[in-house]
């Protein structure tokens, strides 16, 4: 017998659950939100939700995976348009400089992301998963810097590993401040960007 439930239907259900979950998390916080609430918000029964996801952690991980996949596609597309490593790194800073971190929806998602990140410190499995994601992001910068060093465009004296980590550390540090509405996000990030680019440039 052919399966009664099509893949397309399953995907539709999954997306519905994920969208509702993200809204609930942003509104109430990751740890206070219950599967029941996600059920009520999405109009999908708790039992059905468990057919698609084992746990709340699993739901957020899927959200994170999808977002990371989208970012990956976006970055690859934009990187292919840019020739130099230097302009690629500069472009990545600009991605963050052109968005509005105080816009309520984004601000809510930012909070959930860090709530989940800190939540991961309590589970070995979650910590491994989030570290894999971190390593992927770090390698993206590291490879770009190394290519730039090969062609003499990036300062050969910088430690690419350290600078790759530093890129994301800066973004995390700046993003964490955005819960304070008077934080001068653009001034701080622009200055950090200039400082970073100045160091990686081959003189």
């Amino acid at each position: 017998m052919a399966p009664i439930v099509s893949e397309e239907y399953k995907e539709k259900m999954k997306s519905k659950i994920l969208n509702s979950a993200l809204e609930c998390f942003a509104q109430k916080g990751f740890s206070t939100t219950t599967i029941n609430e996600i059920g009520a918000h999405s109009g999908i029964s708790k039992g059905s939700i468990y057919n698609y996801f084992v746990s709340k952690d699993d739901i957020y991980l899927e959200l994170l995976n999808r977002a990371t996949e989208n970012d990956k596609i976006d970055i690859t597309k934009n990187f292919s348009k840019l020739r130099s490593s230097y302009s690629k790194i500069s472009f990545l800073f600009d991605v963050f400089l052109t968005l509005d971190p105080f816009e309520p929806k984004r601000a809510g998602q930012n909070v959930v992301f860090y709530e989940f990140t800190f939540h991961c410190t309590r589970s070995k499995r979650l910590l491994e998963l989030i570290t894999d994601r971190g390593n992927f992001l770090v390698n993206l910068i590291k490879e770009t810097l190394e290519k730039g060093q090969e062609v003499g465009e990036i300062n050969p004296n910088i430690d690419t590993q350290v600078y790759a980590h530093k890129f994301w550390l800066i973004l995390d540090g700046v993003s964490l401040q955005t819960i304070y509405k008077d934080f001068p996000y653009y001034d701080v990030l622009s200055e950090m960007k200039e400082m970073y680019l100045e160091e990686i440039k081959h003189k």
Binding site: G29, V111, F118, G134, E199
Partner: protein, 202 residues
């Protein structure tokens, strides 16, 4: 008589706060219950409620405790040095690259989570905003003094650089907590060099 009573009260308060910190750090604020704190502190539930109205009040008290201890530590380091360069450098090296015991790591974790939690609690966010301004003021003052005495470049905005300092600081602590395998110490030293080089007059 009443002195001894007060001392006992203070001791119990501390016991509860230290236990609460451990419970919040190991389970998360939402998942940790008053019963967990009772069990961990061996202070009865009735006594805890005489000291604190609610779990949230304990959370807020922990925030005060953490920030007070933090400011004290930072000021102690700063007081040892005279130049802006030494002061800034020592915060990177002595503080960020210093030893963190489990009490401190737990405090960092709980304080980060409390800040995120406060985004849905207006009153709490207000308390944190005061502390944030105080934190900015400390670095801003060091940089302004350095600019005034010609040690640091006049072209830089002390407030923006103070914000940059703390943004890096928080990013570093987050890295330390979440990614223990990342090259944390190297990152701190590197940033210290670049930060000071950018600020200083040669």
């Amino acid at each position: 008589m009443s002195f001894a009573k007060n001392e006992h009260k203070q001791e119990q308060r501390n016991k509860v706060l230290i236990s609460a910190l451990e419970c919040f750090a190991s389970k998360g604020y939402d998942a940790a219950t008053m019963d967990d704190i009772v069990l961990h502190s061996s202070v009865s539930k009735g006594s805890i409620y005489k000291l604190f109205k609610s779990k949230e009040e304990i959370y807020i008290e922990l925030m005060y405790k953490y920030t007070d201890e933090f400011f004290e530590e930072i000021n102690l380091i700063l007081a040892k040095y005279t130049t802006a360069r030494e002061k800034l450098s020592s915060l990177f090296i002595e503080y960020l690259n210093g030893q963190f015991d489990s009490y401190k790591l737990n405090s960092f974790l709980v304080h980060f989570e409390l800040q995120l939690y406060s985004t849905r609690k207006e009153q709490m966010l207000k308390l944190l905003e005061e502390r944030r301004l105080k934190r900015l003021g400390i670095i801003s003052k060091v940089i302004s003094e350095g600019i005034q005495n010609g040690e640091l470049k006049q072209t830089h905005d002390a407030d923006v650089y103070a914000e940059m300092f703390w943004a890096f600081f928080d990013g570093a602590i987050e890295t330390k907590l979440v990614f223990p395998n990342f090259p944390y110490e190297k990152l701190v030293i590197e940033q210290r060099d670049v930060f000071i080089k950018n600020l200083a007059n040669n």
